[in-house]
């Protein structure tokens, strides 16, 4: 067992260590997707790239939004905007568990002192029409990651199978650094000329977005935008693929998928506003899933999503 590196001093140091760890293990270090998503899985680098036969290895931070989880910045563990660290490798390598444990060591978790466990947890995303088997990973009884072997995405069997790792960054960092309230966590090095805590950056936004998500957002507009995104997604997928200017056949899988992401986030906002009844809820989820499936179908027809 190698000597564990020193405990990181800040949130960003944990991110930087993960970035450099996975870069050194051959992953393309991508940047966050530039849209509002509920989880790192929504990034097309995961959803779409887990389809088809082309090998793939990517790692990235993804800012994620869960409007219903807003607590005005007061809850020590809950945020409506937080960060996930996502690793996706296709086909899943045989030593993925070892690689993952190496990443924990890299951020200062001494594997000889802590109790790491892989506890059954099957993952399912009804909005993406996706599921996989795997575990939640426990460190001393605390869930620090989600570890999944994708079996299906957008209704398509994953062949080969991708291995997906998702780290809840705030929670993991708080545990590693021994911080009790997320807002008290150092974001940059506490020795910096201008030390910033997580709360210095996000307390006010958590307040504002909580107010927005629960009370402020215009539901009539959200409903309208949902419809529009749904229509646009379907329109783009039905658009003539033969491009007369380039002479190429171009299927707009990614632009259409952007509209799916939009619809999904709009649904989450409507849900937070409490204007979707229990029965309607299933119907909305089904509509988003239908879009995700169509995008997956389209992506499979493109070069990046092909079988060879």
């Amino acid at each position: 067992m190698s000597e564990a590196p020193a405990t990181p001093r800040s949130f960003q140091e944990i991110i930087l260590r993960l970035q450099s760890y996975w870069a050194s293990r051959g992953c393309a270090v991508l940047q966050p997707y530039d849209m509002e998503v509920g989880a790192g899985t929504f990034h097309p680098a995961t959803t779409l790239r887990s389809l088809g036969a082309k090998p793939w290895a990517a790692a990235y931070v993804q800012p994620s939004r869960r409007p219903t989880d807003g607590r005005y910045g007061e809850n020590p563990n809950r945020l409506q905007h937080y960060y996930q660290y996502q690793v996706i490798i296709k086909p899943s390598p045989p030593d993925l568990q070892e690689l993952y444990l190496g990443s924990l060591a890299a951020i200062g978790i001494d594997l000889g002192l802590h109790d790491i466990r892989f506890v059954e947890d099957d993952w399912e995303s009804p909005t993406l029409g996706a599921w996989g088997l795997g575990w939640e990973v426990w460190c001393d009884g605390m869930e620090v990651s989600q570890f999944t072997y994708f079996q299906q995405v957008g209704g398509h069997d994953c062949k080969p199978v991708s291995g997906e790792l998702t780290y809840g960054l705030e929670r993991l960092a708080m545990y590693v650094m021994g911080v009790d309230h997320v807002m008290d966590m150092p974001f940059n090095d506490p020795q910096s000329p201008i030390p910033l805590k997580y709360g210095d950056i996000f307390r006010q936004t958590e307040e504002e977005y909580s107010r927005h998500n629960f009370d402020g957002a215009d539901t009539e507009m959200l409903f309208r935008h949902f419809e529009a995104a749904e229509k646009e997604c379907e329109r783009l997928l039905a658009f003539e693929p033969q491009d007369p200017k380039s002479g190429k056949r171009i299927i707009m899988a990614h632009p259409a998928y952007d509209q799916t992401i939009k619809a999904s986030h709009l649904f989450n906002l409507l849900d937070a506003r409490g204007v979707i009844s229990v029965t309607e809820r299933q119907a909305y989820i089904g509509r988003v899933r239908a879009l995700a499936k169509q995008c997956a179908d389209a992506f499979r027809l493109t070069e990046a999503g092909a079988d060879q």
Binding site: P94, H114, I116, G132, L133, M142, P160
Partner: protein, 715 residues
């Protein structure tokens, strides 16, 4: 005799699947070996989170040679027939034997299959078992196509005999079998070679893996108890949790911690559930205070610091969880103290079933029915109705939202907090019972009334919307609800006419939502609506009653009551009163066990057969009353006297539903009836005597038919 060792090493197998998987491995492999012609002395299977292991001892080194013989066509048969026979056997003409018999010469195909080496058979069987393993859920990984519960990493397969250990060669989806395995993930120190089961078990232990789950369970339980005793506390037993935790670790290291003081005021059920469900902790009780004050967690590693960091981490997670629980508890208490009005409102918005209305609608119905049932179970009607209105309010509480398994338990706490009396509060907890076959039934009258009302409402409702159980499908657990009613009724000796209650219920409460909708949509008048309800009530009740009867038969059969005895009692009036029904069945069952009882049955049947035949033939019913003055023999006169005596006992006994006494009096008729049939010819030439004797037989039938319809008894 070689021994076989198989280890299927994988990434972490879900704890809940391990016991079944090791048993499947044992059965499938040994069955396969036996089917292929091998025998073995013994086989044992083991599991840890990362491996399934099978050890087979005393395996035969090769399978028995097999000689198969098939008779073919005559040697004189047309060429086509012979060719067909050759094709089906795969032999050539000169390989066939010719045997002479009476009809001439016939072709025979004789195929000698030599014995096969165990190694080849094991390889074949194991590959098939791996490829078709019955995991409840399996997956693919990487670029392969094999399915396993989680990625399968290596296969160890060894046959060992006096000459040493030999790897059984096989390759499954790129995984090549070998003689190498590894120990604990963090304490194991690499891969190692093994030579057989004993060597394997010893080396595994050195590599910090306890192979046998029973041994891990014992170590956990012993370790946990030692820790608790040392602190003057005791561990709360939980065998389900013990098995689960033993499936999460290869090297169990129990650690004990204390629950912070600020959480000790939480109800013990909340502490226990939160710790068990979220953290897989055992609860530790302080016998002096009777409270849950500590926990035992089981780590999978001997940490360098003795587990201090691990314990601290676990304690921190627990504190976060219990802070949530405390927040829920305090919020809920606030609602409870203010009378729970918030929850009453909330349940209006919760759909129970889209054809059966909201939870609030349902509670109204249950309350009305509980009021009706209350006098039958000795409960105060107002209390029962009130308890029913409170019993499900905790479904809206934050705590039950987080831990659904605490429904009822929390309801009781909240009702007490709201100032309700104990019997009403207890109903919140106990009206859910019996929750399963091993759960007892409540006996407190208010709880019984609400529990019955709840279950009858559920059954009636789903019957009304035609959502009955079919085959193995019972999504609304209606069989369990019916069994619950049966156990509540019988366990408390409740006298309730179920069919009448169901009809009443449908009519009185306008229950059948389907009918309600139809009536509304067609805009029919109140009279028509009311008529429709009556119709539904009366057509639904018999069907539901026969469902109850079916469940009752299953239940009584489990208690050792014969099905024909149940049928005989079901044929009696008032059969929707289950307590009455069971009283009949018990008395009949007991009587038939006695010699007199069994013989009485024969006498009764004889009397009944003769009488029925005569009645059919003569087209009359012989029920005019027999007169002793036409009796010709002493045996006849004795039977008259015996029937008088028996009736004198039976009539009051029946009035008191004392079926045991009534049956005993009937059984006492056995001797006079036997004597009568021995001495007397019923079908006398004298028509007056014959009629009188038939009327006497009728008396036997009448006297013996009060408890059950004896004609339905077999034998």
């Amino acid at each position: 005799m070689p021994d076989l060792l198989i280890e299927l090493f994988s990434e972490e197998i879900p704890a809940r699947m391990q016991a079944r998987a090791r048993e499947d491995l044992r059965k499938l492999v040994t069955d396969g070996l036996v089917e292929a012609g091998l025998t073995y002395a013994s086989a044992g299977a083991f599991s840890t989170p990362r491996r399934l292991v099978l050890s087979v001892e005393g395996l035969t080194a090769e399978s028995r040679p097999v000689r198969e013989e098939r008779k073919g066509p005559s040697v004189l048969a047309p060429a086509q027939a012979v060719e067909g026979f050759l094709r089906s056997t795969g032999l050539t003409l000169d390989q066939l034997e010719r045997r002479a018999d009476k009809k001439g010469e016939t072709f025979y195909a004789v195929v000698e299959k030599p014995g096969r080496a165990a190694s080849a058979i094991v390889a074949e069987v194991l590959e098939a078992v791996i490829r078709n393993f019955p995991w409840p859920k399996s997956m693919r990984w990487g670029a392969g196509s094999l399915r396993w519960v989680r990625p399968l990493q290596s296969i160890l397969c060894l046959l060992s005999d006096e000459t040493g250990a030999h790897v059984v060669p096989l390759t499954v989806d790129g995984i090549v079998s070998g003689n190498v395995t590894e120990g604990h993930r963090f304490m194991g120190m690499g891969r190692f070679v093994v030579t057989g089961f004993d060597d394997y078990a010893v080396k595994l232990k050195r590599a910090k893996v306890v192979l046998d789950s029973a041994e891990r369970e014992a170590a956990i339980w012993q370790g946990a108890q030692n820790l608790a005793f040392a602190a003057g506390m005791e561990v709360v037993p939980d065998t389900g949790l013990l098995t689960e935790v033993a499936g999460l670790v290869e090297w169990p290291v129990p650690l004990m911690g204390r629950i912070a003081d600020q959480f000790l005021s939480l109800p013990p059920e909340v502490l226990q559930t939160s710790m068990k469900e979220h953290q897989k902790f055992f609860s530790v009780k302080n016998p002096k205070t009777g409270r849950i004050e500590g926990f035992v967690t089981v780590a999978n590693i001997e940490a360098a610091d003795g587990g201090e960091v691990i314990l601290k981490g676990n304690q921190k997670v627990l504190a976060a969880r219990l802070s949530d629980a405390k927040f829920f508890w305090e919020n809920d208490l606030r609602v409870a103290k203010s009378g729970m009005g918030e929850w009453v409102e909330g349940l209006k918005a919760v759909t129970f079933h889209n054809k059966l209305g909201s939870q609030a609608d349902r509670i109204e119905r249950i309350a009305a029915l509980a009021r009706e049932i209350a006098p039958l179970v000795g409960a105060d009607a107002d209390d029962a109705a009130h308890a029913a209105k409170l019993a499900k309010l905790d479904l809206r509480s934050a705590m039950v939202g987080e831990f659904p398994e605490l429904q009822g338990v929390m309801g009781r706490y909240y009702a007490l907090e709201a100032g309700e009396k104990a019997s009403v509060a207890d109903a919140a907890r106990d009206h859910w019972r019996p929750k399963g076959e091993s759960d007892g039934v409540p006996s407190e009258p208010v709880s019984v009334a609400v529990a019955l009302a709840d279950k009858i409402d559920t059954l009636t409702g789903f019957w009304a919307i035609d959502e009955k159980p079919t085959g193995s499908k019972d999504p609304f657990a209606l069989r369990r609800a019916a069994l619950g009613v049966i156990r509540l009724v019988l366990g408390n000796g409740v006298r309730i006419r179920l069919a009448q209650k169901v009809s009443y219920f449908v009519v009185q409460l306008g229950f059948a939502a389907k009918i309600l909708d139809q009536a509304r949509s067609k805009d029919v008048g109140t009279d028509r609506y009311s008529a429709a309800l009556h119709e539904t009530g009366s057509s639904l009740a018999p069907d539901l009653l026969s469902f109850f009867h079916d469940r009752l038969k299953v239940y009584l059969k489990d208690q050792g009551v014969r099905h024909d005895i149940i049928d005989a009692c079901l044929a009696m009036p008032g059969n929707d009163d289950l307590t009455l029904l069971v009283k009949r069945a018990t008395a009949l069952s007991e009587t038939l066990k006695t010699e007199d009882g069994a013989n009485l049955l024969q006498g009764f049947k004889r009397a009944n057969n003769i009488l029925s035949q005569a009645e059919a033939k003569d087209g009359v019913e012989y029920s005019f009353g027999a007169d002793p003055k036409f009796a010709e023999t002493d045996e006849e006169r004795a039977l008259f006297a015996a029937l008088d005596t028996a009736e004198a006992t039976i009539t009051p006994a029946m009035a008191n539903e004392d079926f045991g006494t009534a049956m005993a009096a009937m059984a006492a008729l056995r001797a006079p009836i036997d004597a009568f049939f021995t001495a007397v010819q019923v079908n006398s030439d004298n028509q007056i005597v014959r009629r009188n004797r038939l009327n006497l037989l009728h008396r036997i039938r009448a006297v013996c038919s009060g408890v059950a319809d004896l004609t339905r008894i077999e034998g």
